[in-house]
Structure formats: structure tokens, C-alpha cells
């Protein structure tokens, strides 16, 4: 059996774009579509080059210098050779992973819920989702400080039923709770995008073939929402491991993460090259981890999902 009927179509458009209309006196200079694209992207490229790529090179350059400006590897050997700093790195990645997981666990059901709602309901709920981003990070963190503090409403609740309130501040839990609150939108928005692209007929199709609701979810919905999961996880993880304010306020003296040391090296110890090295280690490790994570998620058949 032949595959499809071949239907004759009009002449294919040439890559050069449409030919100029007859009667145009001055010949129109033909431009490849990429030139227009480049023009549109140029402001963004300029901003990135000036404010991100150039400083990044300066950062890397500085991290291989002594404070006097001589070339050295000392900043890296100092960081990697000291178990204290290695633990700080692990701790930072751990908080990042927990926050990502927290956002996924809280955000995925929410995104699935939003999928079935009317556009109007979705608008309102998205506003609720984005509301934490409308408040200053410091204000929000202090809000959690009040909420989780020893005299806060949660502690009062424990006391009211005659229990001792557990310590809820200045530990990993406080930091992760605060971070999930900030980051949730960054997880849910890409997830919504991914879920919206799934053909709504797939679930009834799978059910009709004998799949239970649970099987449909694991075999159809989850694999097809992997791109959203991946995008959300990458944003949440990289923003979390580089965040300063929330861990500083909610983590107190016990939770000291990489950005904190970058900050103190740069401002208190005035050791800018070492601060640069810590920062660069974080960038490299985050990049490698996210690349591995992306690789794992894509897996088999991933090409089709991510296409």
C-alpha cells in the first residue's frame, strides 16, 4: 500500500524569500531570514555580552590570580583541598536538590490541576502562583521568620495542644521551605506549558486500551511532561544554589551556603580572587550537574518528547 497520495502543490518558496513585486523601481535587496533574526536579537545579545559574558571572563581570569595579580592555582587548591569548603559545596547542592524536589512535589499536582481549568480560573490561579514574586525577597523571608519563629503562630499551635514546638528556624528545613515558596512559579509555569501541549485525547485513548488512571498518569502524562519538568528543575536548581538572601535570613548561622562565602570573601576579607574561584566552582558544578540531569531525563524515546 502506498504511503500517501502525493498532491501537487504550488511552487515551493525559495530560501531567499518572496520575489519582489513587479513594478518596484528600486530592486529590493534580498536578505536572508537569519539577518532579520540577528537584528531582532541584537539588543539581547549586546546586553548579555556586556553584562554577563564579559564579566564571566573577568571572573575566571581573576580566579587564577593572587590578590597581588600574579598567576596562581592557589584559589582552587585551597577550595578543593579544604574539607570545610567541600562540605559547603555539598550542602549547597543538597539544598538545591531538596528545593527542586519540593517544587516538583508541590508544583506538579498544581500544574495538572490547572490543566483542566477554564482560562479564567487559570488566570486567577496563575496570579496566586506568581504573587510571591511580587513581594521583596527580604520581606518574604522575614515573613517566614515570624511564621516559623519560637513565638510564631505555628509554635503557638503546638503549644495550644500541649506539645513542645520543634525548632523550625535556622536549619535546612526553614531554608528549603522559604526557597520552595519563592521558586514554585518557576517550576509550575514550564510544567503548564508542557502539559498543555499533550493531546487531551491521549488519556481517553489509553483508558480505552485498558490503562487505569494511575497507569495513564505514569505512562503518558509524566513522560510527556518531562520537558517541562526538566526546564523547571534546571531553573529552580540553578537559582537556588546561587541565592543569597533567603538562605542568609532563614538559615541563620548554621546554614552557610556557597553564595554566603562568595559574599564574605568579597566584602569582608576583600579576597576577590578567592571569591571569584568559589563563584566559578559553583557555576561549573551546576552546569555539569544540570547537563547530566538533562541527559538522564531524555533517555529513550526522549528525542520524540523533546522534539
Amino acid at each position: 500500500m502506498a504511503a500517501t497520495a502525493r498532491v501537487a502543490h504550488g511552487p515551493a518558496l525559495t530560501p531567499d524569500g518572496p520575489t519582489p513585486a513587479p513594478g518596484v523601481s528600486r530592486p529590493v535587496k534580498e536578505r536572508g531570514p537569519w539577518r532579520t533574526g540577528l537584528l531582532l536579537a541584537s539588543p539581547a545579545i549586546a546586553v548579555l555580552a556586556l553584562l554577563f559574558i564579559a564579566p564571566l571572563f573577568m571572573l575566571v581570569y581573576n580566579s587564577f590570580r593572587t590578590q597581588a595579580g600574579d598567576p596562581t592555582l592557589h584559589n582552587y587548591t585551597r577550595f578543593l583541598g579544604d574539607s570545610f569548603y567541600r562540605d559547603v559545596l555539598w550542602h549547597t547542592l543538597w539544598i538545591g536538590a531538596l528545593t527542586t524536589l519540593g517544587c516538583l512535589v508541590v508544583g506538579y499536582p498544581f500544574a495538572v490541576y490547572l490543566r483542566g481549568r477554564s482560562p479564567r480560573a487559570r488566570n486567577y490561579l496563575s496570579l496566586v502562583l506568581l504573587s510571591p514574586l511580587l513581594i521583596s525577597m527580604v520581606t518574604r523571608a522575614y515573613g517566614w521568620l515570624v511564621l516559623l519563629g519560637p513565638k510564631g503562630p505555628i509554635a503557638d499551635g503546638f503549644h495550644a495542644v500541649g506539645l513542645d514546638a520543634p525548632k523550625m528556624l535556622y536549619n535546612d528545613t526553614a531554608v528549603v521551605v522559604g526557597m520552595v515558596h519563592v521558586m514554585l512559579a518557576y517550576m509550575v509555569l514550564p510544567l503548564m506549558g508542557s502539559l498543555d501541549r499533550i493531546d487531551p485525547a491521549l488519556t481517553p485513548a489509553a483508558k480505552g486500551l485498558g490503562a487505569s488512571g494511575w497507569t495513564c498518569f505514569w505512562r503518558i502524562t509524566v513522560p510527556l511532561s518531562l520537558p517541562g519538568m526538566l526546564a523547571g528543575s534546571l531553573i529552580v536548581f540553578s537559582l537556588t544554589v546561587s541565592s543569597f538572601v533567603t538562605p542568609a535570613i532563614l538559615g541563620g548561622p548554621t546554614v552557610k551556603l556557597m553564595p554566603y562565602f562568595v559574599y564574605t570573601e568579597a566584602t569582608s576579607n576583600l579576597n576577590w580572587p578567592y571569591a571569584a574561584a568559589i563563584g566559578f566552582v559553583l557555576i561549573v558544578v551546576t552546569t555539569v550537574l544540570t547537563a547530566v540531569y538533562a541527559r538522564l531525563l531524555r533517555g529513550r524515546g526522549g528525542k520524540e518528547v523533546f522534539a
Binding site: 500500500m1 504511503a3 500517501t4 497520495a5 498532491v7 493531546d199 485525547a201 491521549l202 481517553p204 485513548a205 489509553a206 483508558k207 480505552g208 486500551l209 485498558g210 490503562a211 487505569s212 488512571g213 497507569t215 503518558i220 513522560p223 510527556l224 524515546g301 526522549g302 528525542k303 520524540e304 518528547v305 522534539a307
Partner: protein, 401 residues
């Protein structure tokens, strides 16, 4: 044709063999009793009663919003009726969830799983039934062959053409040997040529495997071409449930007449039953039509008469001098009126050349009558006085709504 076991056999072209195969299918007798369903506060299905025989190909035909897809989804188990009963082979499955019914469904969007290969898609139903990997692979290969996609099992849906995707969806639905095959507008996303070819293939395949099939469509050509019976639906009810020929030639309601095919609609007065049909008066003309389906209108009641353009013949009126050139007819068509034929006098208002045929518009006292003249027939001139005639059995009437 062998003695009919049911109403299935009398389609236009069934051969002896496929009647035999279909008589062999004993599974998939569907009964719908008094189905009602409201969606979003609006009653979209209002009392559907339907019985399908095993192996039958039935089409739910109607405009969008008539409740045909809702009805199909209740058969599939994706929607729960507000009232009424769904029975398959005598078993009440009204409240059985979709994943525990044996229905194979094909969707308009194909609904193939994009992250699975064609073979994995097809074998999905077997996998859900815990069939082993080796058997699954063999059955999937057989199913691929059945729909003419041999060797395409390792591709992904994205790599297939629209027609190939639809065939994959069909194979996926049939592999579980369903009680019923449910086709929800399966050809709507295909281009016109492919649509026609694929519907013929599906009809042939259905005759071969003998699975009771419901097709939902708004395309009347499709319904006429493939169905054993057509249920014409509007506003949540079935207006007529009959063989395609009956639906086309003897529409039961005004809606059916106007929805299925092109038709001339003429208002008249009923004038009692005749030996071979029903009498009707339009102005001074006394006409006879086929016996109406359902209750016959009483004498003097306002009725509508329907006649298809291709059933109308445009005849020269004797003595009125049709030009000799135009009056040279091919032997097949009679150019002058025979006494037995009912019809209406009128004048030719317009003629349009449509390639394979000529459309002729005749103004009569009862309104415009359009006629489709077969290829090669003489075309009357503009303003010529003619007589529009048709055989009684080619016209029908219903009470005027």
C-alpha cells in the same frame, strides 16, 4: 445473497463472501436504551434508543453539537449517562469504567502516544492486558500488516504521514479484539483524496474483521459510502435510523432531507395515500411521492416535498418549440413528458456548467427547482418553457415543520 441474518446484509455492494464473514460475527451487539446526558447545564443527548447487530457498521451523522460524539463517549465509557442503559451482548455496562470495557476507539487527532514507537503504540492494549513481550511483538507485526504498515513498527508517530498515523490508530484499536470499534471523526484531519481512500479501506477492513463499528461524522458523503445504517442526529435525538438509500431517498424529517445531500424543497398539501405512494398537491399540479417513513400526513395537511436535483429531469414541453439542436437528445434520456410522471412546469432561469454535469435552475410556480443533468445530455436554453419531472419513488414528503 444468503438469507439475511439481520438488517446488515443489504448494502449496495456486499459480495457473498463478506456477508458470510459478517454473519459469522456474534460479538458486539450494542443496545442503547433511553440515553440522556447534559453537559454544562445543556441537555446534549435527549433520549437515544438504538440496537446494533453484531458486525454492523453504523454511522452517527449530524452537525456539530448534535450529541453524536457525546453518545459515542458514553458507549466508550468516557462519559456517564444521566439516565439510560448501555448494553453489550446483553451485559449492562453503563457504569463500567472505560478501561474495563472492550472498546477500540480511533480519535480525530489520532491520539497516538508520541513517545512510543508505532509498534509500542499498537501493542499498548496488549501490554495493559499483561500479554508477554514475544506474543506482543508478533501480534503487533500482524496488526501492522493488516493495515498495510509492514516494517514501520520502529518509527515514531511524528515520522508518519496523516494517513499512516490514522492506520496506526486503527491497528491499535483493533489489536485488542474489541467488542466495538468506535471511530470519532477519524478522517476529518486528512486531505480530501486521502479521506476517500482511507474510508474505503476502513470499510473493507471492517467487513473483513467483522467488528461491530460506530462511526461518528458530520460528512454525509462518508456516511452514505461506508455505512450499513445511518442514524441522523440533531439536537440530541435520532431523526432517522435507516439504510443509506432510505435516508437519502425517503428522509423521515425535514431536517434529514435538508442535511443529507442537496435537495429541492417544495411546499404543498397532502392529498391522501395512493397505491404506490402518497399524493400531494402543489398549486395546480398533482404529484405522487414515495410513501413517507413514519406516520403519513393527513389529507389537507401542509407538507413538504423533497426531490434530489439528480432525480429531476428537464423535459421539453410538446409544441412549445424547443430548438432542434438542443432537442437532439442522447437515446438514454426521454426528452418529452410521459403521462405517468409527476412534475411541475416552469421556465429555465439559469444553467451552470459543472464539469461532469450541468446544473439547470427552473423557476416554477412553487419555487425554484434545481436539476442536475447527466453528462452529455441536451441543455435547454435560457427562458425556455420546460417541464420538471421525476419518478414518484424519487420524491418524498414530510409534514411541514
Amino acid at each position: 445473497m444468503t438469507a439475511g441474518t439481520d438488517t446488515v446484509g443489504d448494502k449496495s455492494a456486499p459480495t457473498g463472501t463478506d456477508t458470510a464473514t459478517r454473519a459469522g460475527s456474534t460479538r458486539g451487539r450494542l443496545v442503547l436504551k433511553g440515553i440522556h446526558k447534559a453537559l454544562g447545564g445543556k441537555e446534549v443527548v435527549r433520549g437515544i434508543d438504538l440496537t446494533m447487530e453484531p458486525g454492523e457498521f453504523l454511522t452517527l451523522l449530524g452537525p456539530s453539537g448534535c450529541g453524536k460524539s457525546t453518545t459515542l463517549n458514553m458507549v466508550a465509557g468516557h462519559l456517564l449517562p444521566d439516565s439510560g442503559v448501555v448494553e453489550v451482548d446483553g451485559r449492562d455496562i453503563t457504569r463500567l469504567p472505560a478501561n474495563r470495557r472492550a472498546m477500540g476507539m480511533v480519535f480525530q487527532s489520532y491520539a497516538l502516544f508520541p513517545h512510543m514507537t508505532v509498534a509500542e503504540n499498537i501493542a499498548f492494549g496488549l501490554r495493559m492486558r499483561k500479554v508477554g513481550a514475544a506474543l506482543r511483538r508478533r501480534r503487533a507485526a500482524e496488526a501492522l500488516e493488516l493495515v498495510g504498515l509492514d516494517g514501520m513498527g520502529e518509527r515514531y508517530p511524528r515520522q508518519l504521514s496523516g494517513g499512516q498515523r490514522q492506520r496506526t490508530a486503527l491497528a491499535r484499536a483493533l489489536i485488542v479484539e474489541p467488542d466495538l470499534l468506535l471511530l470519532d471523526e477519524p478522517f476529518s484531519n486528512l486531505d480530501a483524496q486521502l479521506r476517500v481512500r482511507l474510508r474505503e479501506e476502513v470499510a473493507a477492513l471492517q467487513r473483513r474483521v467483522g467488528t461491530t463499528t460506530i462511526l461518528v461524522t458530520h460528512d454525509q458523503d462518508e456516511a452514505l459510502a461506508v455505512s450499513d445504517r445511518i442514524a441522523v442526529m440533531a439536537e440530541g435525538t435520532i431523526h432517522q435510523l435507516d439504510a443509506p438509500e432510505t435516508v437519502y431517498l425517503r428522509p423521515a424529517t425535514d431536517f434529514v432531507a435538508q442535511f443529507v445531500g442537496e435537495v429541492n424543497v417544495l411546499d404543498g398539501i397532502a392529498a391522501g395515500a395512493a397505491a404506490d405512494g402518497h399524493r400531494c398537491r402543489i398549486g395546480d399540479s398533482h404529484l405522487v411521492t414515495a410513501t413517507p417513513v413514519g406516520t403519513a400526513p393527513g389529507d389537507g395537511e401542509a407538507v413538504r416535498l423533497y426531490v434530489r436535483p439528480e432525480a429531476v429531469r428537464v423535459l421539453a414541453v410538446p409544441g412549445k418549440g424547443r430548438p432542434a439542436s438542443a432537442a437532439t437528445p442522447d437515446p438514454a434520456s426521454t426528452s418529452t413528458r410521459t403521462a405517468a410522471e409527476p412534475g411541475l412546469p416552469g421556465t429555465v432561469e439559469a444553467t451552470r456548467f459543472l464539469g461532469t454535469r450541468v446544473r439547470c435552475v427552473v423557476a416554477t410556480a412553487a419555487g425554484r427547482v434545481e436539476a442536475t443533468l447527466p453528462f452529455g445530455s441536451a441543455v435547454p436554453g435560457l427562458g425556455e418553457e420546460v417541464f420538471c419531472a421525476w419518478r414518484p419513488q424519487h420524491a418524498s414528503l414530510t409534514a411541514r415543520p
